[in-house]
C-alpha cells in the first residue's frame, strides 16, 4: 500500500486545533508510517498539492480564506473540518452578530488600549475580511467533522487512523465527540 | 318576549317595509366604504328627501354584494338593478332615471364596462346567476344595523323553532343530517363536533365564533359579519342551545373595526328584544354573547391559541388532545366554529338538513364562500355549491383573466394552502379534491395568477408570511419556517444549488410533520404544491446558478 498524502491547514482559527494535533504525541509516528505530511503550517511550500486527506482548522473569514478553501477542496480527496471554528465558526464567528465596520472600529479606534490616534489599518497587502464569517460546510462540501474547541488529540488520532486504514470513522460511536 | 310576540314583531317589520315601494341598498361593506359608499348613501338619502320620496323609498346601508372591485355599488330593489362605481355627482341623474323615468342608465349598470349588454336584473348576470347564496343570502339586501330588517326576512325564526319544537339532540341530528363541514378550513363535520361537546357533562360550556380571519386576500368572514351579523348570532344561540352552553364569545380580529361595530350593535339590539340574554323568548334557555377582539396574530385563528387569547394569555397554541370540545375555554367543554359555519345554521334549521345535504357533492355538502383576488377580471366575494369547478369560478363567474392574460395557477387556502395549475382547472372545489392536489379548501381565499407570476416567489411570499406569523412556541415552525424562507430567498435570487433544494424538501417534510399546530404543519403547503406542479421553475434557477460556477 502506497503512503497517503496528508495536509493540515490553518485558516480563521487560533491554531489550538493544531496544538491538539501535536498532542497525539508519539502516535504521530504511527501516522507517519501510513502518510506523508506534505503541507502544514510548519512545512514550507507555496502551492497546496494534491492530497488524500486535508485537515482544515478555522473558519472562512476573508477573501484569502475563500480562495484557499476552494483550491483545497479541489486538491483533496477527503476534506475534514477540524474543530469548532471550521464547523460552527465558534469564537471567530462571534463578530457575526455585529456590523463588520463596527467591529473593526471598536478594535482599532475605540479600544481602551489605544492611544487617541487609533486608526483602521488599510494596506493593499492586507487580506480583506468578509462581512460574515462562514463555517466550511457553507462554502464547500466537507466529508468529515471533528468538533471540539479544541478536539481532543484522541479524537483527531482516531479519525486519522481510521481513514489511513481505509475505514470510516464515527466519532459518535467511538464516544469521542465533543462540542466546545 | 315570547314566541307570539316574535310573530307580532315580524308583522310589524313587514308592515314597516311594505310602505316602501323601493328600497335602495348602498353597499357599506369595508370595500365599498373605502371607495366612498358612505358619502354616496348620504347623497342618495338627501336626494330622496329633496324629492319628497321618503315615504316611498328607503335608502339603507347594506352588506357586501360581491363584486368588490366595482364599488361603490348601489342596488335598487325590487328591480334588483345594481349600479357600479357610483359617483356622488351622478346621484341625482341615477335616481331620476331609475326611479322616476324608469329608464335605467345602461352605461352605469354593473359590469357595463365589460359586458356587451349589461343586465337590468343583476341576478341574470353570469356573475350572480351561477352562484348559490346561503351564508351570504341576505347580505346585500338588508341593513345590517337594523334588527327589523333581519326580522323582516324571518330572522330568528330558526332559533324560535329550536327552542319550542326541537330537543338539543334533534338540533344536533339535523345539523349532522345536513352533512355540513366546518368552514374554517379543516372541514371537520359540524354535527359531530356539536355532538361531542353536547356529550361532555359540565355545568359550564362555551360557544366560540372564530372570526379571526387572517389569510391574506380572504374576507369571507368579514363580509358575513358586516353584512348579516344577526345570522351569526342566531347560529351561535342555536349552537348554545344544542350543546348546552349559555355563554358565547365572538372572537373577531382587531383589523375588522366595522365588523366589530356591527356585531356589537347586533348583540345590543338582540338583547333588547330578548333574543339573546336571559330566558330567550320566555324559555329557560339563556345565552349571552360577548365580543373579544384579536390583537393581530394570525395564529389566534388556531382554536387553542384563540382560546388562550380569550383567557387573557399569550395567544399560543397547545397540543391536542385534549380538544376544546373536552377541555377548552377555562378548561370547560367548548364549541368553536367559524363565522361562515354559524351563518349556515339558521337555513339548515329552517329548510332542513336534507335540503342542505343535497347541495354540493356527496362528501362536501352545501355552499362555500370564496374571496376572488388576483389577476381575475371580477374580484370579490362569491358563494357557490361545493363541487363547482375552478374553471367555472374563474371563467364563468369571475369573468376570466384580467387583461386577457393566460391562467397559470390559483392559490386556495391562503398561506396554508397550495396552488392549482392550469391542467387541473376542472378540479371540483371540495375538501377531498383540493386535498388530492396538495392544496386545501382553507377558509376560502382564492388568488388567481397569470403567466407573469413567478411560482418560486409565490412560495417565498407565503413562507415569509408564515415565518412572520409563527408564534415561536415550537422549534419546527419557529426556526424551520425561517430556514425554509432563507432557502427560498436563495433560490429566488439564483444563488441556490441542488443541495439547497434537497435541504428545503427535507425541512418541508419535517415542519409539516413535527410542528405543534396547524399553522406550522400547513406552512410548507405552498412550497410543496409549487414544487409538485412547477418543479421546473425551481430547477431552472438552480441550473442557471450551477452553470455559472467554475
Amino acid at each position: 500500500m502506497s503512503k497517503k498524502k496528508l495536509a493540515t491547514v490553518w485558516l480563521g482559527g487560533c491554531s489550538g486545533c493544531h496544538m491538539s494535533l501535536l498532542d497525539i504525541d508519539e502516535r504521530i509516528l504511527e501516522v507517519a508510517q501510513l502518510a506523508d505530511i506534505v503541507k502544514c503550517p510548519i512545512v514550507d511550500g507555496k502551492e497546496f498539492p494534491e492530497v488524500d486527506i486535508a485537515l482544515v482548522e478555522g473558519a472562512i473569514t476573508s477573501d484569502e480564506h475563500l480562495k484557499e478553501i476552494l483550491h483545497i477542496r479541489k486538491q483533496s480527496k477527503i476534506l475534514i473540518s477540524l474543530g469548532d471554528c471550521a464547523i460552527m465558526t465558534n469564537v471567530t464567528g462571534m463578530r457575526n452578530y455585529f456590523n463588520l465596520k463596527d467591529v473593526i472600529e471598536t478594535s482599532y479606534v475605540g479600544s481602551v488600549s489605544n492611544d487617541d490616534a487609533g486608526e483602521v489599518p488599510n494596506h493593499w497587502a492586507l487580506l480583506k475580511l468578509n462581512d460574515k464569517v462562514y463555517p466550511l460546510q457553507e462554502i464547500v462540501e466537507v466529508d468529515y467533522f471533528i468538533p471540539g474547541c479544541p478536539p481532543s488529540a484522541d479524537a483527531i488520532f482516531y479519525v486519522l487512523s481510521e481513514l489511513l486504514n481505509d475505514r470510516i470513522p464515527d466519532l459518535s460511536e467511538a464516544k469521542k465527540m465533543k462540542h466546545g | 318576549m315570547n314566541s307570539q310576540e316574535l310573530t307580532t314583531l315580524y308583522d310589524k317589520a313587514k308592515q314597516k317595509n311594505a310602505q316602501y315601494k323601493h328600497k335602495i341598498c348602498v353597499c357599506c361593506g369595508a370595500g365599498c366604504i373605502s371607495s366612498g359608499s358612505e358619502e354616496v348613501l348620504k347623497k342618495i338619502q338627501e336626494e330622496i328627501t329633496a324629492r319628497g320620496l321618503e315615504n316611498e323609498v328607503s335608502a339603507v346601508p347594506s352588506g357586501c354584494m360581491g363584486p368588490c372591485n366595482q364599488g361603490p355599488l348601489v342596488k335598487f330593489l325590487p328591480d334588483n338593478t345594481i349600479y357600479q362605481k357610483v359617483d356622488c355627482k351622478n346621484i341625482q341623474y341615477v335616481v331620476q332615471r331609475q326611479l322616476i323615468d324608469k329608464k335605467p342608465i345602461e352605461d352605469l349598470l354593473i359590469f357595463s364596462d365589460s359586458r356587451e349588454k349589461p343586465f337590468l336584473n343583476a341576478d341574470e348576470d353570469p356573475f350572480f346567476k351561477k352562484q348559490l347564496k346561503i351564508a351570504l343570502k341576505d347580505c346585500g339586501d338588508i341593513n345590517p344595523e337594523e334588527i327589523d330588517d333581519y326580522l323582516n326576512i324571518g330572522g330568528y325564526s330558526a332559533l324560535d323553532k329550536v327552542l319550542f319544537k326541537m330537543l338539543p339532540e334533534e338540533v344536533i341530528a339535523e345539523v349532522k343530517h345536513s352533512r355540513m363541514r366546518g368552514r374554517g378550513g379543516a372541514g371537520y363535520p359540524t354535527g359531530f363536533k356539536w355532538e361531542t361537546v353536547y356529550k361532555y357533562v359540565s355545568a359550564e360550556k362555551y360557544v366560540i365564533c372564530n372570526g379571526d380571519e387572517g389569510d391574506p386576500g380572504a374576507f369571507m368572514d368579514r363580509s358575513v359579519l358586516e353584512g348579516n351579523p344577526h345570522r351569526v348570532l342566531e347560529g351561535m344561540a342555536i349552537a348554545g342551545y344544542a350543546v348546552g352552553a349559555s355563554q358565547g364569545y365572538a372572537y373577531i380580529r382587531g383589523e375588522y373595526p366595522l365588523a366589530i361595530k356591527r356585531i356589537e350593535n347586533a348583540i345590543k339590539q338582540a338583547k333588547k328584544l330578548r333574543l339573546l340574554g336571559n330566558n330567550i323568548l320566555g324559555t329557560n334557555f339563556s345565552f349571552d354573547v360577548q365580543v373579544r377582539i384579536g390583537a393581530g396574530a394570525f395564529v389566534c385563528g388556531e382554536e387553542t391559541a384563540l382560546i388562550a387569547s380569550i383567557e387573557g394569555k399569550r395567544g399560543t397554541p397547545s397540543p391536542r388532545p385534549p380538544y376544546p370540545a373536552e377541555s377548552g375555554l377555562w378548561g370547560k367543554p367548548t364549541l368553536i366554529n367559524n363565522v361562515e359555519t354559524f351563518a349556515g345554521i339558521a337555513p339548515i334549521i329552517n329548510q332542513g338538513g336534507e335540503w342542505y345535504s343535497e347541495i354540493g357533492t356527496p362528501k362536501s355538502a352545501g355552499t362555500k364562500v370564496f374571496a376572488l383576488a388576483g389577476k381575475i377580471k371580477y374580484s370579490g366575494l362569491i358563494e357557490v355549491p361545493m363541487g363547482t369547478t375552478l374553471r367555472q369560478i374563474i371563467f364563468d363567474i369571475g369573468g376570466g383573466m384580467q387583461d386577457d392574460g393566460e391562467f397559470k395557477a390559483a392559490q386556495t387556502g391562503g398561506p396554508s394552502g397550495g396552488c392549482i395549475p392550469a391542467e387541473h382547472l376542472d378540479v371540483k372545489m371540495d375538501y377531498e379534491s383540493l386535498l388530492s392536489l396538495g392544496s386545501i379548501m382553507g377558509s376560502g381565499g382564492l388568488i388567481v395568477m397569470d403567466k407573469s407570476s413567478d411560482m418560486v416567489d409565490v412560495a417565498r411570499f407565503f413562507m415569509e408570511f408564515c415565518m412572520d406569523e409563527s408564534c415561536g412556541k415550537c422549534v419546527p415552525c419557529r426556526v424551520g419556517t425561517k430556514m425554509m424562507h432563507d432557502l427560498l430567498q436563495k433560490i429566488c435570487t439564483n444563488h441556490a444549488t441542488k443541495i439547497d433544494l434537497d435541504r428545503l424538501e427535507e425541512l418541508a417534510d419535517y415542519v409539516k410533520e413535527c410542528s405543534l399546530c396547524g399553522l406550522g404543519t400547513s406552512a410548507p403547503n405552498p412550497l410543496l404544491s409549487t414544487l409538485r406542479h412547477f418543479r421546473e421553475e425551481y430547477e431552472n434557477r438552480i441550473r442557471q446558478f450551477e452553470e455559472l460556477q467554475p
Binding site: F98, K132, H179 | P319, D468, R478, M483
Partner: protein
C-alpha cells in the same frame, strides 16, 4: 380519578401501566429513552420542543410523548429512523437559531443542549447559522440572562409561575424574535416580581440563565431539585 390497568406496546415491548399517565412518564418508568428539552418533571408540559415526538399506530400525526396520555392497546414507536432524523433536525435548528458558542459558554460541559447534540450524533449543522444580535442582561445582582444561549423552552417561565408563584418571566414577540422577558420587558435587576429564588436558573437547560458567582466549568445546575421540591410540597409534611 380512578385508575384502570392497561397494556400497551412500546418499541415492541409489552408494558403494563395505569391510565392517566403520559407516554413520557411510562417510557421513563421502563427505561425507554425519550429525548426532551422543554419537559421538566413536575411543571406543566407544553409540547414545544418536539423532541419527544413518537409514532402511534393508527394515528396519522406524530404525537408529543409529554402531553399524550397512554391508552389501552396503544402501539408506540419511539426511535424509528424518521424520528431520529427529525430529532437531529430539531437539534440542528436549536443550535443554528441563537449563538451557542460552547467553548466560551458558562455551561460548557454541563449543558442539556450539548448533551442532546451528542445523543442525536450531531457533528455539524447543515443549515446556515442565523447569528442574531442578542442582549445579555446582567442587571440582576445574583444572576445573568444571556439570550445568546436561550432555546425558548420556557422552563424558567413555567417554574417561576407554577412553583415560585412570582410570574416574573414571560415571552414576547413572534417567530425567531421571541425573547424571554422579565416583567414587562424591563431589566431583570429592576423586577418588582422576582423573588431572587433562582429556581429559573436551576431549571434552565443551557447557559442562558446562570449565577454570577460561578466561573466556566463550575456551573452545575440541578433541575431535578425543582422536581423534588414539587414532590415535597405535595406531601405537606
Amino acid at each position: 380519578m380512578s385508575m384502570t390497568k392497561l397494556t400497551l406496546q412500546i418499541d415492541g415491548r409489552s408494558i403494563e401501566t395505569e391510565s392517566g399517565r403520559t407516554i413520557l412518564e411510562v417510557c421513563k418508568e421502563n427505561d425507554i429513552t425519550i429525548l426532551t428539552m422543554c419537559h421538566l418533571k413536575g411543571i406543566t408540559d407544553v409540547g414545544a420542543c418536539r423532541l419527544c415526538l413518537v409514532e402511534i399506530e393508527g394515528v396519522s400525526k406524530l404525537m408529543s410523548a409529554c402531553t399524550t396520555k397512554v391508552a389501552d392497546k396503544m402501539i408506540i414507536r419511539t426511535s424509528t429512523e424518521k424520528i431520529k432524523r427529525y430529532q437531529r433536525i430539531t437539534t440542528e435548528l436549536f443550535a443554528a437559531e441563537r449563538n451557542h458558542v460552547c467553548s466560551v459558554c458558562i455551561a460548557n460541559g454541563h449543558c442539556e443542549l450539548q448533551k442532546l447534540a451528542y445523543d442525536v450524533k450531531m457533528d455539524h449543522i447543515r443549515y446556515p447559522y442565523l447569528f442574531p444580535q442578542c442582549e445579555v442582561d446582567t442587571s440582576h445582582p445574583l444572576y445573568v440572562l444571556d439570550h445568546n444561549r436561550c432555546i425558548v423552552c420556557t422552563r424558567c417561565v413555567r417554574v417561576c409561575a407554577e412553583v415560585e408563584g412570582a410570574y416574573n418571566w414571560d415571552v414576547m414577540n413572534r417567530g425567531t424574535n421571541v425573547r424571554i422577558i422579565s416583567d414587562f420587558n424591563t431589566p431583570w435587576g429592576e423586577s418588582i416580581t422576582c423573588s431572587d429564588c433562582g429556581k429559573c436558573v436551576e431549571a434552565c437547560p443551557t447557559g442562558a440563565l446562570w449565577p454570577k458567582a460561578v466561573v466556566q466549568g463550575q456551573l452545575n445546575k440541578a433541575p431535578e431539585f425543582i422536581s423534588d421540591l414539587i414532590e415535597k410540597r405535595k406531601m405537606k409534611l
